[in-house]
């Protein structure tokens, strides 16, 4: 079982390596990756040095180039692929047919992983990626329960990787335009969701109101902490009910599911959070390293005990349990 950890900066990458990551994933400082946030990500030089550092410690580096290339500007995505290969990336994490096709044809020896943004949610879709591009691993979308994952693993000719901790998409990844509907900026095209540049807070009648692109996403009383207005985790009103109609402001913590996911045959467990600081990353990685060691010794998985770090202070195992649907 591999532990795959996020790094938004070279310092975070070092922290993840020190804390026991088997592999670290990161991206270039541009719109080619799905965490295109200000002050984050790697220059070409930083990536080369970080890969050299990780390799000295026996840790792999996976480079995420997982947005969808802008029409007429494919050169930016081609360059990212070429440069990541040249820097010695252990795998590229890709989502777009265009980038997968380019990488498979121009770098046939390079290991390719299908990003969660590709939304490959069943063995037939996975077979398409394996047969078309020689994909070696697929990161599964967060819409599947453990039984479905087990069945995918049984039928698939490539490795699987699943998210076990961090931000939780409630919509299928790679096919969500909610953010661009409100702000003009989307995960697929710009590598951002509910971007901070479009967030505002205001005080109205004793409530703190959070908005995204001018739409009210939530409202908090004095005794509530005002969470970040991620669009799908806001309070809204329908004719039948009001409140968190899509999902509460929770994040994913599937630590208790690790034995079941291991038994399902999953190859790698992934922690979300390239936007997080190095202290956070070090602590989460250390915790999961410890839990995995305990599972290896036959002890059942304790809860990760990281709830305080989870956004909104609450966590869920998400779609891994069927009742989530």
């Amino acid at each position: 079982m591999e532990l795959i950890c996020p790094a938004g900066t070279p310092a975070s990458l070092e922290a993840a390596v020190e804390a026991g990551a088997d592999a670290v994933y990161c991206g270039f400082r541009d719109e080619t990756n799905a965490r295109n946030f200000p002050g984050l990500n790697f220059s070409r030089e930083e990536l080369r040095k970080s890969i050299a550092f990780a390799h000295r410690r026996g840790v792999k580096v996976l480079v995420a180039i997982n947005t969808f290339a802008r029409a007429g500007s494919f050169g930016l995505w081609q360059a990212a692929i070429d440069d990541a290969v040249a820097a010695g990336a252990d795998a590229l994490i890709l989502a777009d047919l265009a980038t997968l096709d380019y990488a498979a044809r121009h770098h046939p020896a390079q290991r390719l992983h299908v990003s969660v943004q590709a939304g490959a949610a069943n063995p037939d879709a996975i077979r398409f990626y394996v047969e078309s591009f020689g994909a070696r691993r697929v990161v599964l979308p967060r819409v599947l329960n453990v039984a479905e994952i087990a069945s995918i693993v049984r039928e698939s000719a490539c490795e699987t990787e699943v998210f076990v901790f961090g931000g939780l998409c409630v919509m299928e990844e790679g096919r969500c335009s909610l953010s661009s509907y409100a702000t003009g900026k989307s995960p697929n095209m710009n590598g951002v969701c509910s971007p901070a540049s479009h967030v505002a807070y205001a005080e109205r009648e004793g409530q703190i109101v959070s908005t995204l692109g001018g739409f009210t996403i939530n409202s908090f009383g004095k005794d509530e902490s005002a969470g970040y207005p991620t669009l799908c985790k806001g309070r809204f009103v329908t004719p039948k009910s009001s409140g968190y109609i899509f999902e509460e402001p929770v994040s994913l913590d599937a630590a208790v599911m690790l034995p079941a996911l291991r038994d399902a045959g999953v190859t790698a467990f992934k922690i979300e959070g390239r936007q997080r600081g190095r202290a956070y990353i070090a602590e989460v990685v250390r915790s999961f390293r410890r839990i995995l060691a305990e599972i290896d010794q036959g002890r059942s998985a304790p809860p990760a005990g990281l709830a305080a770090m989870a956004e909104g202070q609450a966590s869920t195992v998400g779609a891994y349990r069927k009742s989530w649907r």
């Binding site: 290339a69 398409f128 990626y129 335009s177 739409f215 009210t216 809204f236 009103v237 779609a319």
Partner: protein
């Protein structure tokens, strides 16, 4: 410029669904009609009995019929439905997920708006696999549409031109959740909202619509005033997505603007009478927030400015 009637995204009663297509077959000036359940596999059996008659009526009226696949395929039942659809030789299929390519073989196919085609290289890849037409994702801005149409001229490029905009798909059913039901025991409550369930902000502003596992916009896309620019960009077809309004009249209006019989601005005014009390939007095409309504100027098709 062709007009394509997209699949009914909502859970209409089987009879309403059948009669809608009969009327569109007989009355609407539409070139291509897409049928099939794309949103929820639990709904598909309701339409199954009427589907052959609907297809026959449409084809009898000279319409080209495409059979659309599910957007999100994860359950064994959904894989089976999808594989069977791909192997039914008589129906031309519109794929909404790359799952379909695993069982399609060498047959030509159309690509629906839920397959991520954001650039000319992805479009070219699908064309090489047998795609003949692609309805692009609704969030694509006009320069991307133009670049794709120019680079892959053998493909008929279509854009989402009318209807509430599909924005997201999930494993979770928000209709069931709003009614405090589970997805497995949903009682098909989505049937009570044939035009989607409105999702307003806490201060009462229209924002989104829920259609089972799908989330759409509250606003209705209207690219009427953008038609001249779309024509110049090489767009071959306009997708009209069925809403609870007179879709024959909507199709007539788009046809009249395409054929330069009426001015786009005047047409959009009339569209507001056909589908009242719903705001129109075209922000995505202009690279702006999707809910925006940008003044596209109108003008005549083919007119170079």
């Amino acid at each position: 410029m062709q007009l394509t009637l997209g699949p009914v995204l909502y859970h209409w009663s089987p009879e309403r669904w059948r009669d809608f297509y009969y009327r569109m077959a007989d009355e609407a000036q539409i070139d291509v009609v897409v049928v099939g359940e794309t949103v929820c596999s639990k709904r598909a059996p309701f339409k199954q009995d009427y589907l052959p008659a609907v297809i026959e009526r449409l084809e009898g009226a000279g319409k080209r019929v495409l059979h659309a696949s599910l957007i999100l395929v994860s359950l064994p039942r959904e894989r089976r439905q999808t594989r069977e659809l791909m192997q039914v030789a008589e129906a031309e299929v519109e794929i909404n997920d790359l799952t379909c390519l695993a069982s399609l073989g060498e047959r030509p196919f159309a690509v629906g708006p839920f397959v991520n085609v954001y650039n000319e290289a992805a479009a070219g890849f699908l064309a090489a696999r047998g795609a003949t037409r692609i309805c692009l994702p609704p969030e694509l801005p006009l320069p991307a549409v133009a670049a794709i149409a120019a680079a892959v001229p053998q493909l008929a490029i279509e854009v989402f031109a009318f209807g509430k905009v599909p924005l997201a798909i999930s494993a979770r059913c928000y209709h069931a959740r709003a009614h405090r039901l589970t997805k497995d025991n949903c009682r098909f409550v989505c049937e009570n909202d044939p035009d989607g369930m409105s999702v307003k902000t806490l201060d009462g502003a229209g924002f989104l619509s829920v259609n089972g596992v799908q989330t759409l916009s509250d606003s209705c896309a209207s690219l009427l005033c953008d038609l001249p620019a779309l024509g110049r960009a090489g767009v071959a077809s306009l997708r009209l997505s069925p809403q609870c309004c007179d879709m024959v009249a909507v199709a007539r209006l788009f046809r009249d603007v395409v054929d330069e019989r009426i001015d786009p601005r005047e047409a959009e005014g009339r569209l507001g009478e056909i589908y009242p009390e719903v705001p129109f939007s075209n922000g995505f095409l202009h690279g702006a927030p999707g809910h925006n309504r940008i003044d596209a100027g109108g003008g005549r098709p083919g007119e170079l400015r």
